[in-house]
């Protein structure tokens, strides 16, 4: 099953999104929050992100959901720290982090491929709310 990593500048945001996504997940589905800094401060921690990707990777790949600006740069940097074998199976979704995560989690729970989970996450950009 494709794993999901949530990268936010805020630990609370990442964990809150994970909590909401878990309601839609299958038992044991790998959804890892990588938010904030070790000291609880606002920011993105490259090492935390790379460890989260490893933890979320069960062989089928990982989709990484990101919030603002440097979350993408931190994730790109985290990918450079990983083995080629893992790196090739990680995709960063260009999607709203909350809606995208929930869409991705549902798609992944169906056993869909990495490409399909990524496309579904990015499709969340088109959700109409009203």
């Amino acid at each position: 099953m494709v794993g999901i990593v949530i990268v936010s500048h805020s630990q609370k945001v990442a964990e809150g999104i994970r909590e909401m996504a878990l309601q839609m997940a299958r038992p044991g589905q790998l959804i890892i929050a990588a938010g904030g800094m070790d000291d609880g401060g606002i920011g993105t921690d490259v090492v935390k992100v790379s460890e989260a990707i490893v933890a979320a990777h069960s062989g089928d790949g990982v989709v990484v959901m990101v919030d603002l600006g440097s979350a993408v740069m931190s994730t790109d940097t985290a990918l450079e720290l990983l083995d080629e074998e893992v790196r090739g199976k990680v995709k960063i979704a260009d999607a709203p982090i909350l809606e995208g995560t929930i869409s991705a989690v549902v798609e992944a729970s169906l056993g869909s491929s990495l490409e399909i989970v990524l496309a579904t996450a990015e499709g969340a950009r088109n959700f109409k709310k009203c």
Binding site: H9, M37, D38, G41, I42, G43, T44, D45, V46, V47, K48, G69, S70, M73, S74, D76, T77, E80
Partner: protein
Amino acid sequence: MSSTFEALAAIGQTIIRNRQFLTDLDAAIGDGDHGINMARGFEAVAVKLQSLGADKDIGTVMKTVGMTLVSSVGGASGPLYGTAFLRAASPSLGKYELDKETAALMLAAAITGIKERGKAVRGEKTMLDALEPAYDAFVEGSNAEKSLIECLELACEAARQGVEFTKTIIATKGRASYLGERSIGHQDPGATSSYIMLQTLVEFARARG
């Protein structure tokens, strides 16, 4: 320059001393955390370097600094400077004395890393506006057979002018880009921290003779 370790420690101390200055620059056009983030990063670097020991080669020190910055800075400058130091590690692995050729390769690798990571080019009011002119001046000095210290001095002066130049241009990258034309008149915090690092390196090299 016999000790990369001490040079990096000096750079770290200068960044920490300039915490408020860099933060004030960033507060004017960004999210006001550049000094705080960079100081936090270099405080972590100081601790890491202590445990690394002073006998390591330049590349190992660069790699340690890079890894520490990416995991402790938090803001955009973490992956940017972290990548810069990590890339500068490759040409300096196994080297204990800095020579002009290695320094130029390190600077070039660092700049390439920053460009890739930030998807930025010169003229967008970023650290590249200090670092690219610095690299050009360094290479020019090197081609004119100047000494390592002289080349670093030329690079430092070019970086200073680069910082001045950032006052005249509009930010198109990062949080400052939301300000558009209102970013004109302010110097870029990232270009400033890059210049400060070079300046410290020059002072360190001069003191070492």
